[in-house]
C-alpha cells in the first residue's frame, strides 16, 4: 500500500462512525520501490490529499525531515519538495502493518501490501 492510497482510506463505512479519518497508521514492514517522478502529477494530486494525513504518514515512515508539518504555499515552484512528496507518496510501499479507526479502535490489517478494509455484516 502506497502512502498516497493511505490518504484516501477511511473507516466511515462502520455504523456510527462520523469521519473515520485519518486512520492511525502503523508500519511494521515496508520497502522502497522506484517510481518515475512526475512533478505535474504530484502537484495535481495534492488538492485531493489531506495534508495532516500526509504529514502523519511522513512521521510514521520517519521522513519528517523531508515534509513540513504545514502545507507550504506555491508547492508547484518547489521541485525539491515535490520530489520528496513523490518519494513519500509513491515509493514507500507498506507491506505489513495496520490502520486503526480513530473513533472505534477497529483495526484493519495490512498484509502482504494489501489493506483489508472489509467489514463484517454486523459492523455496517
Amino acid at each position: 500500500m502506497k502512502l498516497s492510497t493511505y490518504n484516501f482510506l477511511t473507516s466511515m463505512a462502520i455504523k456510527g462512525v462520523k469521519v473515520g479519518f485519518p486512520l492511525k497508521l502503523t508500519i511494521s514492514k515496508k520497502e522502497v520501490v522506484e517510481s518515475e517522478f512526475n512533478p505535474t502529477f504530484v502537484e495535481r494530486i495534492l488538492p485531493k490529499l489531506d495534508w495532516s494525513a500526509v504529514y502523519g504518514a511522513a512521521q510514521v515512515a520517519e521522513l519528517t525531515e523531508d515534509i513540513p508539518a504545514v502545507q507550504p504555499e506555491n508547492i508547484g515552484e518547489n521541485e525539491l519538495l515535490l520530489q520528496k512528496l513523490h518519494h513519500l507518496l509513491f515509493e514507500i510501499d507498506v507491506l505489513e502493518g495496520q490502520l486503526e479507526c480513530p473513533e472505534t479502535g477497529r483495526v484493519f490489517p495490512i498484509t502482504d501490501g494489501i489493506p483489508n478494509m472489509l467489514l463484517n455484516e454486523d459492523e455496517v
Binding site: 492510497t5 484516501f8 482510506l9 466511515m12 479519518f21 502482504d112 501490501g113 494489501i114
Partner: protein
C-alpha cells in the same frame, strides 16, 4: 517513456495469473488478455486517459485491467476487490512483474460511495459482474459507483442486451455514454455447470464521459 505497443501489451498480460478457483457467486470470469489489452490501448491512444493518470479498477479480481493500465504508464492504479483469494493473486502478479505503481485494496466496491475516493480518479475502468448469478443489476450498481469516483472518464463492459437502459441510467447519473466496440466475450468453461466447452456472450465496451459540474 515510449508507449507500449498493443501486441507487446497483450504478450505481457498473458503472463498475468487468473483465478485459481473461480467463485460462481462473485462471477469471477477473468478478463481475457486480448480484450484487456485492446481496452487499455484504446483508452490511452484515443483519449489519453491512462498515462500519468490516477486510475481506479473496481472489482479488479486478479488485476488484469489494473496491470494493463500500469503497463501503459498510469501514475498510480488502485484496484478494489472483495475476494481474499483474488487479492492474493493480484499481489503475486504485481510482485512477479515488478510493477511499482499499482495498489490493491480489499474492500466492498458498493461501500465506496461517499468516501474520500469520490471524484478522485481521473479514470475508472472495470469489468463488473454482469449480474447474471442471483445478483441482478450488480453491474449497474458498480457503474453508479464508478461514475461517482471518476472525474473524467469511466470504461466498462456490459451485456449488449442492456444497452438502451445503460444509456438512460448513465444520463441520469450525469454522464454521457457511448459504445466503443461490440465484443464477443468468450467465457471459458470455468465452472462445472457450463456444459459447453466455452460460451460467447455479446458485450459492449463503453466509455462514459463525466459531465463537468
Amino acid at each position: 517513456m515510449a508507449r507500449m505497443k498493443l501486441r507487446k501489451l497483450e504478450e505481457y498480460l498473458q503472463g498475468v495469473d487468473g483465478f485459481e478457483q473461480p467463485k460462481i457467486l462473485l462471477e469471477q470470469y477473468p478478463t481475457p488478455p486480448h480484450i484487456a489489452a485492446c481496452m487499455a490501448h484504446h483508452m490511452q491512444s484515443q483519449h489519453e486517459d491512462i498515462e500519468g493518470k490516477l486510475v481506479g479498477d473496481l472489482g479488479c479480481g486478479c488485476g488484469m485491467l489494473s496491470i494493463a493500465s500500469t503497463l501503459l504508464g498510469a501514475q498510480l492504479t488502485v484496484g478494489f476487490e472483495l475476494d481474499g483469494d483474488a487479492v492474493d493473486t493480484f499481489r503475486g502478479n504485481v510482485v512477479e512483474m515488478e510493477l511499482p505503481n499499482v495498489d490493491c485494496v480489499r474492500a466492498d466496491v458498493l461501500q465506496l460511495i461517499g468516501s474520500k475516493w469520490e471524484k478522485s480518479f481521473d479514470t475508472v475502468l472495470m469489468n463488473p459482474p454482469f449480474g447474471t448469478k442471483h445478483n441482478a443489476g450488480m453491474d449497474m450498481r458498480f457503474l453508479e459507483v464508478a461514475l461517482r469516483l471518476a472525474n473524467r472518464a469511466v470504461y466498462s463492459l456490459h451485456k449488449t442486451s442492456t444497452r438502451s437502459y445503460i444509456q438512460k441510467k448513465a444520463l441520469e447519473w450525469g454522464a454521457r455514454g457511448s459504445v466503443v466496440a461490440e465484443l464477443r466475450y468468450n467465457i471459458d468453461a470455468s465452472y462445472k455447470f457450463h456444459k459447453q466447452k466455452s460460451k460467447d456472450i455479446e458485450v459492449d465496451f463503453w466509455r462514459f464521459e463525466i459531465g463537468q459540474e
